[in-house]
């Protein structure tokens, strides 16, 4: 990405920073907070808007729905917790798709592969049949998904068939497999998580179970302290070693923001959500989604594997010539996508308290891709982060939730979601054009 020289402009002391900032994250070039902010603005001007559009969109959704929702319940504690639970499946499936979207590929089978994993998990814990411990059932479910993804990835990379076609076949195959798995056992096609056994309840509580309010505070404090320590120690070590590092003030602001986010989430969740009696605490699904987000963020941002993914997504031929085992990395990406979809599937099963045959795997996948793109991931490969899946999932969940609160039918929700997606891909396309040489 070369830059056109503009000699007619007057000399500007910050021009060098601005120019570099378009290509590099501001955290790498900036030496002070002011430079960082200027660099960030420069990146937005240069088309690298990152998560800004989706954050603006999310705030707009919140404001609009809060104003128009009956009795202004949209931002009530109960509804915000609901909103997160309703969005969780979209978020996790979007994080799954991001692995393959980064390569410029797509996985249409993720919805049904995840659903297969979910059925396996739900079936294996049934006390009247296999009665596996919950952790073994989850492990088996995720293992199935990983193998399914690796198989599809192998066909795509080794035989050179487009992922669209291979995963379309997978979409059909795993839909069928799911229906077969559903019919196993004496449950007439509806294995559920309602059994009165603490082992089964673990799966049921993935989505609906709440962490005790006091434990929520303590857990949040531990996580924030841990993250803060890692961030601070990492950055200060880089500064001491003379490596490029964000300014100390920025590191502090980041830590403060994480703490504020943690306090907000736990604070909201610990407000009593019941009309009568008590219903409070952070739902388990929050740390689960955050764990997926954290692990995949580190994997993509701080490991060799992550750098290879971005390299292949940016330019596969260049990556191959640089000596990257492109086929292996791409296969792994499909396996990771399917495994993450398995997590999403288990959350889906927990959400509806069992599994049934009317899972719309196609719609789930399309919403997952939509969430990733709305969040800021490029459909053209090379650009995207796990965080985009969470933000985009919240947008889709927010639209659903807000429109249901209005008593609006599903057809209108589809239209609004479609328009939001259109806006997101337009931003993606325009920013590509703006950053093109």
């Amino acid at each position: 990405m070369a830059h056109v020289e503009a000699p007619e402009l007057p000399p500007d002391p910050t021009a060098a920073v601005d120019a570099a900032a378009v290509e590099l994250p501001p955290g790498i070039v900036a030496q002070s907070l002011g430079e960082y902010v200027r660099g960030y603005i420069g990146r937005i001007r240069g088309g690298q808007s990152g998560v800004l559009p989706v954050v603006v969109g999310l705030v707009a959704i919140m404001v609009v729905f809060e104003v128009i929702s009956p009795n202004h319940v949209f931002l009530s504690a109960g509804n915000l917790v609901n909103l997160f639970q309703q969005s969780a499946v979209f978020m996790v499936l979007a994080m799954a798709e991001i692995f393959v979207l980064l390569l410029g590929e797509i996985d249409l089978s993720a919805g049904y592969v995840g659903a297969c994993g979910a059925v396996i998990g739900v079936q294996l814990v049934q006390p009247v049949t296999t009665n596996w411990p919950w952790w073994a059932a989850i492990a088996a479910a995720l293992a199935f998904c990983a193998v399914a993804g690796a198989l599809q990835g192998t066909i795509i990379t080794r035989l050179g068939i487009p992922s669209f076609v291979v995963t379309l076949a997978g979409f059909l195959i795993f839909n069928g497999v799911m229906l077969i798995l559903l019919l196993l056992g004496p449950f007439s096609g509806y294995p559920n998580l309602g059994a009165n056994s603490s082992n089964v309840q673990v799966l049921y509580n993935l989505m609906a179970g709440n962490i005790d309010p006091t434990v929520s505070w303590i857990g949040m404090a531990v996580i924030v302290a841990g993250l803060g320590a890692v961030l601070w120690l990492g950055d200060s070590r880089r500064r001491r070693s003379g490596l490029v590092a964000p300014p100390a003030s920025l590191t502090l602001i980041k830590i403060a923001a994480i703490a504020a986010a943690g306090i907000t989430v736990v604070g909201i969740s610990n407000i009593n959500r019941a009309n009568i009696g008590t219903l409070a605490g952070v739902p388990w699904v929050v740390p689960i989604v955050l764990a997926v987000l954290g692990v995949w963020t580190v994997l993509l941002g701080n490991t060799q594997f992550g750098r290879y993914i971005y390299a292949i997504g940016g330019n596969p031929e260049a990556a191959r010539r640089a000596g990257i085992n492109v086929a292996l990395i791409r296969t792994l990406a499909f396996a990771l996508c399917s495994t993450t979809a398995g997590v999403g599937g288990l959350l889906y099963a927990s959400y509806i308290g069992g599994m049934s045959n009317n899972v719309q795997g196609g719609q789930l996948v399309l919403f997952a891709v939509a969430a990733a793109v709305i969040g800021g991931t490029s459909l053209f490969g090379g650009r995207g982060k796990a965080m985009h899946g969470v933000l985009g999932g919240l947008v889709i969940g927010g639209i659903y939730n807000g429109m249901y609160l209005q008593g609006l039918d599903v057809q209108r929700i589809f239209i609004v979601t479609g328009l939001v997606l259109l806006a997101a891909v337009t931003i993606d396309a325009l920013s590509r054009r703006a950053s093109a040489p």
Partner: protein, 350 residues
């Protein structure tokens, strides 16, 4: 800067908006959630239900949602809970897959009425509103006996639904209590998949065995009755009475022309009204009159659920007008197409 910006705006907007969105203490009408599967019937249920709720409580609000999948219904239910519903009327897509909704409503202290379909395996249901389907077979069998009149030991053909359907067994047992000893069973079939094609094949084999002499046909649904009628057309004389179930439009039209004798009508209006009344009582803490349920219960696998079971109505030519037309279930215009206009006029439907 990304994380701080996002969080700051979020926290700020949350603070501003929750502070101005607090309850103002005005006494408002209650909200009643109505969650149904997305079907052609859903809008009828909604309009009957809303009309009845606004009649007893003008400032009450019905939170209506229709779902295509269990997950969608789950989302609609949790949204209704946080949206402030005082009671949920739930017609589950699958009785087996909706217990989670009831559990969550229970956690928020919101009563749930299972509507039309029973939510299985949960002790937390408040009520069940549906039809007394177990008496359907007996009602239709009685109608058939009446239609066949004084014939001694008439020969009938019984076409039942899919053998794996739990309703099929109940229908057969109920019909047998009325028919036993009064008729000769020329043939009796379970119809795999309850498809018209299978029913036609069954009827054809029965006609061959009985030498085209049939005094009456009892079918478990209007679809099956229609298949039997199509098979017998032009082959059986005199024309026997045929009974079906469901008040399908085609069946009502066949009753007008005389091809079918009667059908069973389970009034969506009556059912929605019963549910609306019950929902109102639960929302406002009114004691539910004992006459509503009559002490009946239905077991859902975990508990005996107090149940309001409405009796289906036998619809023959004489009461089409006073039942399905008056309820708005089918309009006279829908029933009386140009082909059957004269038969309609003769039956007094307008």
């Amino acid at each position: 800067m990304k994380v701080p910006g996002y969080v700051a705006v979020l926290v700020l907007s949350a603070l501003i908006l929750t502070s101005c969105g607090g309850g103002s203490g005005v006494t408002l009408g209650k909200k009643i959630a109505l969650l149904v599967p997305d079907s052609t019937n859903a809008l009828k249920i909604r309009s009957y239900f809303e009309a009845n709720v606004t009649q007893v409580c003008s400032n009450c609000e019905v939170l209506y949602s229709a779902a295509k999948t269990d997950a969608e219904q789950q989302t609609q239910a949790t949204t209704a809970i946080s949206g402030g519903a005082s009671v949920i009327v739930l017609d589950p897509l699958h009785g087996d897959a909706a217990a989670a909704i009831v559990t969550q409503a229970k956690a928020a202290h919101i009563p749930v009425i299972s509507y039309e379909r029973l939510v299985l395996n949960t002790p937390d249901l408040s009520y069940y509103v549906s039809f007394d389907r177990e008496s359907a077979g007996g009602l239709l069998a009685g109608s058939l006996i009446t239609a066949m009149g004084s014939k001694t030991n008439p020969t009938i053909v019984e076409i039942d639904g899919d053998p794996s359907d739990t309703n099929t067994k109940a229908f057969k047992q109920s019909a047998l209590t009325v028919l036993d000893g009064k008729v000769k069973f020329g043939a009796q079939f379970d119809t795999p998949g309850a498809t018209a094609a299978n029913a036609k094949a069954e009827m054809l084999s029965a006609l061959a065995n009985l030498n085209f002499k049939v005094d009456g046909v009892l079918a478990a649904s209007d679809g099956l009755a229609g298949a039997a009628i199509a098979t017998m057309k032009g082959k059986v004389r005199p024309w026997p009475p045929v009974e079906g179930q469901g008040a399908d439009l085609a069946a009502i039209q066949r009753i007008v022309t005389g091809d079918q004798h009667s059908t069973l009508y389970m009034s969506t209006k009556a059912e929605a009204e019963a549910a609306a009344q019950l929902a109102y009582d639960l929302a406002f803490g009114v004691t539910v009159p004992a006459s509503l349920s009559g002490g009946k219960t239905v077991n859902n696998g975990t508990a005996d659920i107090p149940s309001v079971l409405l009796m289906p109505v036998v619809v023959t030519k004489v009461n089409i007008e006073s039942t399905v037309v008056q309820d708005g279930f089918w309009s006279a215009d829908e029933i009386c197409t140009s082909q059957i206009a004269s038969a309609c006029a003769a039956a007094g439907i307008a």
